[in-house]
């Protein structure tokens, strides 16, 4: 579903938001920390702070539906991955290094558009959890009339 160039973009260190919904079709959302494309693009792992995931996991466990949006701060290139929840687990120390590396690249991008590093110092990253999803669709989301075009 996700080819190598697109996977490179998604793992670049982007602004990530994860969306779910409850049984009443009321949406929920939280900030993501990092993403990793797996299994030749058929699966993806997204990491969230545990405190953020706590709001979404009840939805995922009840209906599996998940949407993850990715945006690159320096040029607003964006896309969205839709999928079905597979599993979740507490992130390990090994995963933490990868999460921090991606987060660091995200902060560097924010600096490039004038948002200083201290601005995000209060944001919670740890403890974190991993959420694995089966990718069902990918859509272009760069602002403009092309937003919504399927990418995979």
């Amino acid at each position: 579903m996700i080819d190598a160039p697109l996977a490179g973009f998604l793992e670049e260190g982007l602004s990530i938001y994860v969306g779910t919904r409850d049984a009443g079709l009321r949406p929920n959302g939280a900030r993501g920390l990092a993403a990793l494309v797996e299994d030749g693009g058929r699966h993806m792992v997204v990491h969230l702070a545990q405190i953020a995931a706590a709001r979404l996991l009840p939805d995922l466990e009840s209906n599996s539906q998940i949407a993850v949006s990715f945006g690159r701060p320096v040029d607003d290139r964006a896309c969205q991955v839709k999928g079905l929840f597979v599993e979740t687990w507490p992130a390990s120390d090994r995963e933490r290094a990868a999460i921090e590396a991606q987060w660091e690249r995200f902060l560097r991008q924010l600096e490039q558009i004038g948002i200083p590093r201290p601005a995000t110092m209060g944001w919670v990253r740890w403890p974190a959890v991993g959420i694995r999803l089966k990718v069902t669709a990918v859509f272009e989301q760069t602002p403009g009339p092309g937003a919504g075009t399927p990418l995979a």
């Binding site: 900030r31 949006s69 607003d76 558009i113 110092m121 209060g122 760069t142 602002p143 937003a147």
Partner: protein
């Protein structure tokens, strides 16, 4: 931690992009960036609708939404649980949101393409802090050197007012305004534009904080922040301009639309990467006297708390400028003997000119070039050509505003000729492009044309 919509006003400046979560009727969630969230009233917000995208389709079938916004002061995230109520395609709310979006679009050369289709109004059902996006007021205070006070304090406005009262002519007045905005309020980059000779055009008469003085730079109504302010006659405040521009440019990329080319003869001065811009219409009883533009490299320079002060300041400055224009014109009429009748000879140059200058007037374009470089056009060009021609033929160098007003060849409008601002513009332009030719004020309504070195005149059709 509790919050009301009013207390989150700073979140609606667009400095950080908002995130919109929706869900289709068949249960597929959607997460997308959102250009603009605006405060409507204590129970409602409006979201910008610019493109027919998935979020919009979802809302049409399921009114529930969630928006996450960030407070630019504290960096605390807030989630707003929403329910769609209605879409507005006209009226004050729509106009306010459209103006901001169009101002950014105009700045990026995307006016008419990057536009608001509707202001979608939502009822706010709940406001909650986002626990993973924790902010800090202390952090903000440290970044800003310990203060988050409003900019337009009474003390600062008093200082500015004091400077304005000491100004004796239009030139010193506009300089005093910009200097006061810098030293009393900390706005280092500013410009004043006034309505030009031709309808629907603004011309720059004074700037501060830029390498080029930009005098004579023209902006059409509706073009850029200044032009949008003139057209709408409403203040425009844009924070996080880079965010907005990036969004607009991303749209442009998606549309494969080349940026519009502007054919200005003099470049309007501006910061290479402005983060905040504020345009204030200078209005007196509905008449546009000018536009004041401020910009900053700081993303959130113009605060919500300052809004009322900004509008008040605009009225005050407009009255000050208009009064000065009237005073100068009244003083001009009181001059008994026009200098033209006294034929004061020009002082000889202190030393023989090394090379001299060629001043060329192109009648068809009504513009003056000095040594082949564009200087100015329109009325200031006609005035310079007239003055320098009189000096060339008669040797007279002292002139009055009154004789210019009476000079039929200059074609000044009978009513509101704005002569003083045109002379100021000409003086500034000469200072920058040709310091060897100067208009030196002698007294109110009277000035001397000083020329260093020989001048060759060339009239072209």
């Amino acid at each position: 931690m509790t919050a009301t919509l009013e207390s989150l006003a700073t979140c609606f400046q667009g400095i950080w992009p908002a995130q919109l979560f929706t869900c289709s009727l068949d249960g597929i969630p959607n997460a997308a960036y959102l250009s603009h969230v605006d405060y409507v009233d204590p129970g409602h917000v409006a979201l910008s609708f610019q493109f027919f995208n998935k979020s919009r389709r979802n809302i049409a079938e399921n009114p529930h939404a969630l928006v996450i916004v960030l407070d630019p002061d504290t960096r605390q995230g807030w989630s707003l649980r929403l329910e769609y109520v209605r879409s507005e395609t006209s009226g004050p709310l729509f106009d306010r949101m459209a103006l901001r979006i169009e101002a950014i679009a105009s700045y990026c050369g995307l006016k008419g393409i990057f536009k608001l289709r509707a202001a979608d109004v939502y009822r706010v059902l709940a406001i909650e802090p986002v626990p993973e996006e924790i902010g800090s007021v202390a952090l903000l205070a440290r970044e800003r050197g310990g203060t988050i006070d409003p900019v337009f304090t009474v003390k600062a406005l008093q200082d500015l007012s004091e400077r304005i009262h000491h100004a004796g002519c239009l030139e010193t007045l506009v300089d005093a305004i910009l200097e006061g905005l810098d030293t009393s309020l900390g706005f280092r980059h500013s410009a004043i534009l006034v309505p030009g000779e031709h309808e629907g055009v603004l011309v720059t008469i004074a700037t501060r904080g830029y390498p080029e003085n930009g005098a004579g730079a023209e902006v059409r109504f509706g073009e850029g922040i200044a032009g949008m302010v003139a057209e709408a006659r409403k203040p425009i405040r844009i924070s996080g301009l880079m965010r907005g521009m990036l969004y607009a440019l991303a749209t442009q990329q998606a549309l494969k639309q080349p940026p519009a080319l502007t054919a200005r003869r003099i470049a309007l001065p501006g910061l290479p990467n402005p983060e905040s811009q504020l345009g204030i219409p200078l209005l007196v009883r509905g008449e546009l006297v000018g536009v004041l533009c401020l910009e900053s490299e700081i993303p959130y320079r113009f605060h919500e708390e300052d809004k009322a002060s900004i509008e008040l300041l605009g009225s005050y400055l407009a009255i000050a400028i208009q009064n000065m224009q009237w005073q100068e014109r009244a003083a001009d009429h009181s001059l008994d003997v026009p200098a033209g009748e006294r034929a004061v000879p020009s002082a000889p140059p202190a030393s023989p000119p090394a090379a001299g200058h060629e001043v060329a007037f192109y009648a068809a374009d009504e513009c003056v070039l000095v040594d082949g470089d564009y200087l100015i056009r329109g009325l200031p060009a006609r005035i310079l050509w007239r003055l320098i021609s009189i000096r060339d033929v008669t040797g007279r160098a002292e002139f009055t505003n009154r004789e210019l007003r009476l000079d039929k060849s200059l074609n000044l409008p009978e009513w509101k000729d704005n002569l003083e601002s045109r002379l100021l513009l000409l003086r500034r332009r000469l200072e920058q492009k040709c310091p060897a030719i100067r208009l030196v004020p002698r007294s109110r309504g009277r000035f001397v044309l000083e020329v260093e070195g020989a001048v060759r005149l060339r009239a072209e059709p």
